[in-house]
């Protein structure tokens, strides 16, 4: 059980980290690039609708079974909400604040780092939080490709008619998602997000 919780958190954590590393730059690009924005946000929106199980199946021939196909599927799941919310956050920055920054003689880079990014951060945090919850909930699918996690208990409980094991796994996933939600909320409050 503890091992399954650990594997579950490792899978979710790694996927969230990889997702953030890919999605935040993409979101920034979308927020600034006029022409590319439609494409990036559009792809992200479509990506949001792809079932993780289908992604998992699709990458199996390339990555085999185990940890990696699970990480790829979960990372793809994490990317869209982060991209969309990063873009939204940057677009929502008050133009007056940007004008003021430029008026003070800030370079483009300084304007981004000191004004636009801090103002967009609450929205980025919302994206990360959404992604984290989705990833924690969906990491249950990893069991189908031998990557472990709490899905092992859920599927075993279901297959053997052992409700105790089934609910143990299901409740643990729900509690983890809830913990992520609360933790994300607390972090968001600290950086001033409206929730």
């Amino acid at each position: 059980m503890l091992q399954d919780v650990r594997t579950h958190l490792e899978l979710a954590g790694a996927a969230l980290l990889a997702g953030a590393l890919i999605a935040i730059p993409l979101g920034v690009l979308a927020g600034y690039a006029g022409a590319a924005r439609g494409a990036i946000v559009g792809i992200a929106a479509v990506g949001r609708t792809l079932p993780s199980l289908a992604v998992l199946t699709f990458v199996l021939p390339f990555l085999g079974v185990g940890f990696w196909p699970a990480i790829v599927a979960l990372t793809l799941l994490a990317i869209p909400p982060i991209v969309i919310n990063t873009d939204l956050g940057l677009r929502g920055v008050d133009p007056a604040a940007l004008d003021a920054a430029r008026g003070m003689g800030m370079t483009r880079r300084q304007t981004f780092g000191r004004v636009a990014w801090p103002l967009a951060l609450p929205s980025v945090a919302t994206g990360l939080r959404t992604a984290a919850i989705e990833v924690v909930a969906s990491a249950t699918l990893a069991t189908f490709v031998g990557a472990g996690g709490l899905g092992v208990e859920i599927v075993r409980g279901l297959q053997t008619g052992d409700d105790r094991v089934l609910y143990q796994g299901a409740i643990a996933v729900a509690l983890l998602a809830l913990a992520v939600e609360l933790l994300g909320g607390a972090l968001a409050k600290r950086i001033g997000a409206s929730t």
Partner: protein
């Protein structure tokens, strides 16, 4: 890489859910199946044999996951019949101790399930036993031709299995009790269509198997001999709701003529056709019935 993993995984979604609504088709016989190749093929054989005698068949509850799930669907009346293994019914459904004699298993199961409103028809000669399988190379390297030899060296090996094997009495806990040892260095659960992939890709050294799996011949794997006879006979038999068996007496007549034809060799061939040659289970079943002029 010769396994039908797309099929297996693509269908997981359905397998992971208990049937939530009972079938709408009023006068069709609702046939179910569990979630692996042999069950698909045999359920198709039952279905087509019944259709050939003019019965209507509803196949919407194929791919139901484990014995527990399929049996629950049957007892709740979500399906009317499905193929189940005598040994599985004895151990997993009735929670009895394994018996040596296949006939005794069938008689025990038939008597006990008739009290639950289910009719177990005569089983096929085919025995799809559980087993452990490995590659030729690993079998040679560790000298594990028998389960007795594997038991003590399991601690150096990784097992690829399916979730239910980890807790079934005729699974890992039973093996550990019966043979001693069997403390694998690592036990990972996979979807039932992927455990051989794990073995073939080197993510595992031993995989749980069914002896009639087409993948065994397709990939030149070794079935490790159950030298002390831990596993009972797993003869496949149609299990029918008593009310449906009474309403359609043809079901028993038809399936009694079909079941004897499903032998070990026939089952292996059909599973191989699906798993290796990517044939559709319905086509494989059709060919089988045609060959026997049914």
């Amino acid at each position: 890489m010769t396994l039908s993993r797309a099929r297996a995984l693509g269908l997981i979604g359905a397998a992971a859910l208990l049937p939530s609504c009972s079938g709408a088709a009023g006068d069709a016989v609702r046939i179910g199946s569990k979630n692996f190749t042999e069950e698909f093929v045999i359920a198709e054989i039952y279905a087509q044999a019944l259709e050939a005698k003019g019965l209507k068949v509803d196949r919407s509850k194929f791919n139901l996951g484990s014995a527990q799930i399929a049996m629950a669907a049957l007892e709740h009346g979500d399906i009317d019949l499905y193929p189940e293994y005598t040994g599985t019914m004895l151990i997993e459904v009735l929670h009895r101790a394994p018996l040596r004699d296949p006939k005794a298993i069938f008689e025990t199961v038939r008597a006990a399930l008739s009290k639950r409103g289910l009719v177990v028809l005569a089983p096929s000669p085919m025995n799809d036993s559980q087993a452990l399988a490995t590659t030729q190379a690993i079998a040679k390297k560790y000298g594990i031709a028998t389960l007795s030899k594997l038991a003590p060296v399991a601690s150096q090996l990784r097992l690829a299995t399916i979730p239910e094997f980890v807790s079934r009495a005729d699974g890992l806990p039973g093996l550990q009790k019966f043979y001693g040892g069997f403390r694998f260095a690592d036990v990972k659960s996979y979807d039932i269509g992927l455990k051989y992939d794990a073995l073939l890709q080197g993510s595992a050294d031993v995989a749980t198997a069914f002896t009639t799996d087409g993948a065994i011949a397709a990939n030149d794997l070794v079935v490790i001999a159950d030298d002390r006879h831990f596993w009972p006979a797993y003869n496949v038999a149609p299990v029918v709701r008593a009310a449906v068996a009474a309403k359609y007496p043809q079901i028993a007549t038809v399936l009694k003529s079909v079941s004897p034809l499903i032998t070990d060799v026939a089952a292996q061939k059909m599973n191989y056709a699906v798993e290796h040659d990517k044939a559709d289970p319905a086509d494989v079943a059709r060919t089988f019935l045609k060959a026997h002029a049914l």
